[in-house]
Point group: C2
């Protein structure tokens, strides 16, 4: 594990995913073991991502299986979604914003202050997301009763 | 056209795309008419995107047809590429960086100073990219002899 991605860096993201999905969608997200993603790509059906600047430049992304996000948004909005559409995309953007925002608030308390761009959402069966970054990419995988998701963080440097 | 996207905002992007593709890949990009993208999504086979903060928060993206990017990278690297792979993804990240960087330099001269995240690249046949932003999205389309590309810029506010 890269020094830059120590426990005090990872924990805010773990907590944010569990908290946001639990309170917004009543979905229990169980974290797997975080790892350095040497393949540098996440594969999924829908991805929300946010660029960050400040303490370091990089990207925070949230990639989900179709089944997983359909359950989350169905719970969030109290309707049955069976297909990824514009409302799902908006919800993924909002979830990405909330998870990144909550994690950023905790990181700022630890002296790591980030500014964030607005979110983008990519929809496409089995698309791949590549972080164009020479530094290690941190992957934090989660399972839910309805499928998987992964949060990835890439930062180009830490100012330590 | 939204007041925020006037000529002095659009021209740096026009010039950057024409210049970067011309000098890096000897590909002539002919700009179409910029428009406000009410559908809020770009559709293509490969997308590079960069988040920005500072003068405003937002996203700059570059979405290309497969044929178009294969020609560009084949010219850039002096090899024949027939499939979108990791090298193509890296090249799209680099092109996005260069186009956004050149446009940012011009915008900074006009008093609009942006910081940029690192680029992300999405690969997936006919994926859609959605800008999660309540503000208008500026699309600048280009044609090349080998297919189309579009640059999109979404900003959540202008500090004017």
């Amino acid at each position: 594990m890269s020094a830059q991605y120590n426990v005090s860096f990872i924990n805010p993201f773990l907590a944010a995913v569990i908290d946001v999905l639990g309170t917004m969608a009543m979905v229990e997200a169980r974290p797997g073991k975080p790892y350095i993603n040497a393949r540098r790509t996440a594969v999924g059906d829908v991805t929300g991502l946010i660029g960050v600047t400040g303490y370091a430049e990089g990207v925070i992304s949230l990639t989900l299986d179709e089944k997983c996000i359909l359950r989350i948004v169905s719970n969030m909005l109290g309707e049955d979604y069976t297909k990824i559409n514009e409302e799902i995309a908006d919800a993924v953007g909002e979830l990405t914003n909330m998870i990144a925002g909550q994690a950023r608030a905790h990181l700022a308390n630890e002296g790591m202050k980030f500014q964030a761009s607005t979110p983008s959402v990519i929809i496409g069966k089995n698309h791949t997301l590549g972080h164009i970054n020479k530094q290690p990419i941190l992957s934090i995988p989660f399972t839910t009763p309805d499928g998987n998701l992964v949060v990835e963080i890439s930062l180009n440097k830490a100012e330590e």
